[in-house]
Symmetry: C2
Subunit: 348 residues, 2 copies
DNA sequence: AAGTCTTGGTCAACCGGTTTCCTCAAGTGG
DNA sequence: CCACTTGAGGAAACCGGTTGACCAAGACTT
């Protein structure tokens, strides 16, 4: 077989199939405004396949069509949450004929550079923006140079193009689990203040705590990191006079849960005998901690697919709207939750 | 300020600066084959800046120049190792005027699709291929449709374009640390067989063990995952007649170390009192495990930058060659290593 | 029989850059 | 004084697609 030293071009396909460039282009793009004999159509497809033809994305983009590419901007790939989201996005984009690129923007530090590289240089048709903080530089940039985009995970108020998960429901799931086990004083390690999902999760936690009639439901905020979780856990576990001691913690991220686990150990307490622990988001590592971690698995993959659906719809001319991924959070029971030691509190 | 509803184009800059497209193109690309008055040159730069001009990458690529983009293919972004590498690559690429894209290829499952999307559609000028397994489909594809590329992390034998780290050195660092603490029977959790760095690390481990005169240095292979580490650790810790029990383990990845930690706990042993543990690669999470994990930090970021340097050199016409990142592995001492309990072995 | 549809395509302009030859004016050596 | 270099920049072809306008020929009307 003669190797293919050069890319096959549209003209090559056209010549080989005995038709014009225009016909090939229209057939391969499945356009309806042209009538073609089925046999011609088949022949074109065959030839294209045989030659391994792929349209040059640049030429395509230039000719006024789209680049058939999107970009997903995430604050940190170190956070595996975003990796799962990106897989969903990539897969769904592929199904819709798009390529999903991935870019890390470190909480907006270089967001404008990324925007230039991807949008202004015409590499993508639209942007999926994960976890934009309020005041994110991209917000202003997008207002000035409008490009199709959606916000995912963290809603941007008033944007009318948010794709989010039911984080309130995750608080309910976690809290119900702890309540069933008998916990009556549960602490919540929240995310940073001022961020939509943090607030929603926290509010849902407080509401559900009230409904269930818990004795106390203290909250401490911290970054979505190990350190943030450790600090918040220390705060919640510190003895206090105006409420009984906490017997269970519910954290907003997996990293926080790992930090909390560490902090609990440093305080000389045991999980789950002294303190039960539930984290948000499930990943393999949760099963290999000691003890293994009970988590609420959020539909991250689905979040990615839903965001792509919304963005592609916008690119194709429909007007955007807010979307909530319907998949329910799922409780993954492992070793970090158990009934509290004594109805009265821990033995110290 | 009037927003910029449309991208500025080359002609816009040309008109505004009172020169022709050709001149602008040449000036902005810093070509030497043209003499331009310094003031004209300055004016062009000013106008381009003011208009926020960015060349359309597609048009550029079409016109025969390069796309100024690269792609880094990694087997899994779930492995934070690759995230660090990608940051190095991205940053260095940027410094060299390139954009580094990131693609996940799940150990080659869809590598050819990715290749088509990125290379055949003309989106990138070259490929950085991380951890190609032997028999990776891309190897054959690249042979048939040559594109500038380098292999990083895992060398591909005979390719003459490998960018790797000194993994042998990491074994020495880890083992010396354990030896100094007094360990004389150290087990190694290796990576899967047949993969260059696995073999290198293992061989270096065995060689150094011999030099140090250890009593025994058993090795067990496993995937670079938590489960792989757990299984291999169980194997190494199982009682055996022909050698004294292992008092320390050295793993090939952080995930393996987490799995090993878990397995050790399940066996009723304590870290570091009964078994010391050293992992490869350092990440924040290592500090928040219980106990915190001693690791050998590999120069992953530098690996990314070095790979980009090599690839860009190749794109610009130099011929490729093997490179070893000179940065030395660094030992990060934490809580998972300590002197063995008793010179004679553990008390059971 | 002439006009009108329909079917099955083709033509050529255009997208936004890059690059290869040109040109034109001013200086310069003979 | 004239042919010749040199400096400064321009004209136009081209890259590989897409797209709307157009066209030839047979089928169908009237």
């Amino acid at each position: 077989m003669p190797d293919q030293p050069v890319r096959a071009r549209l003209v090559d396909v056209a010549r080989e199939a005995g038709v014009s460039k225009a016909t090939v282009s229209k057939v391969l793009n499945g356009r309806q405004d042209l009538s073609v004999r089925p046999e011609t159509r088949a022949r074109i497809h065959e030839v294209a396949e045989a030659l391994g033809y792929r349209p040059h994305s640049g030429a395509r983009a230039l000719a006024g069509a789209s680049t058939h590419a999107l970009a997903l901007l995430v604050p940190s790939l170190g956070n595996p949450t975003y990796v799962t989201i990106s897989r969903g996005a990539y897969q769904r984009a592929r199904e819709l004929g798009y390529l999903s690129l991935l870019a890390e923007d470190f909480d907006g530090q270089e967001a404008d550079e990324t925007f230039n590289d991807l949008v202004k240089e015409g590499r993508v048709d639209g942007l999926l923006i994960a976890s934009a903080r309020p005041g994110h530089p991209l917000l202003e940039t997008l207002r000035r140079s409008p490009v199709p985009h959606v916000f995912l995970n963290r809603a941007v108020e008033g944007s009318g193009r948010n794709v989010t998960m039911d984080v309130a429901r995750s608080s309910v799931t976690a809290l119900d689990h702890l309540h069933e086990l008998g916990h009556r004083v549960v602490g919540h390690v929240a995310g940073p203040a001022g961020i939509a999902p943090s607030e929603d999760r926290k509010q849902a936690f407080l509401d559900r705590a009230a409904e269930l009639g818990l004795l106390a439901a203290p909250v401490a905020a911290g970054d979505f990191t190990e350190e943030g979780g450790a600090a918040a856990a220390r705060e919640l576990l510190a003895p206090t006079e105006h409420r009984p001691p906490v017997t269970a913690l519910y954290t907003s991220s997996l990293a926080q849960a790992i930090g909390a686990l560490h902090a609990i150990g440093e305080l000389g307490l045991r999980v789950p005998q002294d303190v039960s622990l539930v984290g948000n988001d499930d990943l393999p590592v949760a099963g290999y901690l000691t003890p293994s971690l009970t988590t609420v698995a959020m539909p991250l993959y689905d979040l990615g697919t839903a965001a792509v659906d919304a963005l592609v719809a916008e690119i194709e001319g429909k007007s955007p709207g807010d979307v909530i991924v319907p998949t329910e959070p799922r409780l993954v029971r492992r070793g970090s939750t158990a009934p509290p030691a004594e109805p009265g509190g821990r033995p110290d």
